[in-house]
Amino acid sequence: MLEIKHLSYKVEDGSEILQDINLTIQERFVAITGPNGGGKSTLAKLIAGLYEPTEGQILFDGNDITHMSITERARLGISYAFQQPVRLKGLKVSDMLRLAAGKEKKNVDYCGYLSEVGLCAKDYINREINASLSGGELKRIEIAMALARSTQLTIFDEPEAGIDLWSFQNLIHVFEKMYEETRGSIMIISHQERILNIADRIIVLKDGHLAQSGSRDEVLPELLGTTKEACDILLGKMGGTK
């Protein structure tokens, strides 16, 4: 369970990227949506420890993780699949999956993880995580790493972005399988209505504020409603990724 209390994040020039966020997350699938620049990735990075909050507190399964390092949080069971995956010259797909699976794991099921994300293992296992991989391939490998980690909380930052031909159903299947294995929470940052449709809970971040938070049935109709604002939130980004 994740609890966020009065969380704020200010950058050096003084602008507040997130302001006084309060959230308790224990659902299976939680979707975070909202306009570009609303603060979604920033919230994810604060939870994973890439940023340190200027105010507030983050509790994970009762532990105060607010000032813990990225490593400590990862070891407690938090995973973060980046919006923009990082390239690492010289490290191979197999290296990354092995590191993600962890030292304890002896036989890493590389093929299993890669086929889950629609990649043929024999073509990718020895590829370097360098500029030769396409954006969509990198994104899939990023998801495969989260699968290999299979932790209590996994945050996917726009997992569907840049992945075109892969059937959407497979992505949903990945989330479901992960839930079966971990019984943990899966947070998905997304602009896609199809992803919001499977969420148990939808959170809307806008201009650094928590604009809305509730069950899918409460939030989705309003988001999909006729208000211009809701259309901007959803369609604004969808248009860009088509």
């Binding site: 420890g49 995956p85 990082v86 010289g90 290296d95 990354m96």
Partner: protein, 305 residues
Amino acid sequence: MDAITMNLLKEVADLDALPTGAYNLRANGKGAGRNTTANIDIVTKEDKPGIDIIIKPGTKKESVHIPVIISETGLKDLVYNDFYIGEDADVVIIAGCGIHNCGGSLSQHDGIHTFHVGKNAKLRYVEKHYGEGDGLGKQVMNPTTVVYLEEGAVMEMETTQIAGIDDTIRTTKGEIKAGGSLVVKEKIMTTGDQKAITNFEVDLNGEGSAANLISRSVAKDHSRQEFNSDIRGNAPCAGHSECDAIIMDQGWVGASPKLTAAHIDAALIHEAAIGKIAGEQLDKLMTLGLSREEAEEQIINGFLS
């Protein structure tokens, strides 16, 4: 062979025993074992220290190991090795130099290797430098490689220096005729107060000749590295060099690439990038549960792999 020699052999040549095929083992300034084959002859020089390695034209799928081991402290060793690779041959030469210096004096090995690669021959040359020691004596190595490629000859050279060498100046010079191609892949990691200087000079003299130099290096602690290259295009040719360095701690890296074109169809390119490990790379590996130190190690191992 004693344990120190065995360990050095393992480090520089990945050998657990004496190699099969042609080899020449030099230990503490003296010949310590040799084997020749029907196609590969090894002859001791008479006018100066060193050997001639003569490979018959058309020799295929054979290899030559020429490891050099120094385990006496204070030994200064200088050798001249000349390699004659016959036309159309296709061979691998594995050289390596290991120093184990337990004493308080400087141990030094300077090798001057000259390659004459015949028409359309293919050569892969692998060179590894390794030093270890628990004494205060320094380990110094200054390898010089001179390459003459005839028409259509192809040489790929891999050189690695990962640990233990305090001072090194490595010099590589090449002259390449039409259709010849030289690829050099260099990997260096320096730590402590080590110093490494790389000098690379190549003349592309024939039509369609090519050179590609790829250097990847890591400078840790207070170590210093200098990279100097000059690719001279004197004919329609392609030259490319790439110097990629990671600096850590108080490391220092200088790159001075030079390109000289003396022909309108000489295509010469240089790329250089020096910087610390990108923060987002560390962040990514730490989100997988690695500590910062483990993440650095993985990134460096990958970078130098």
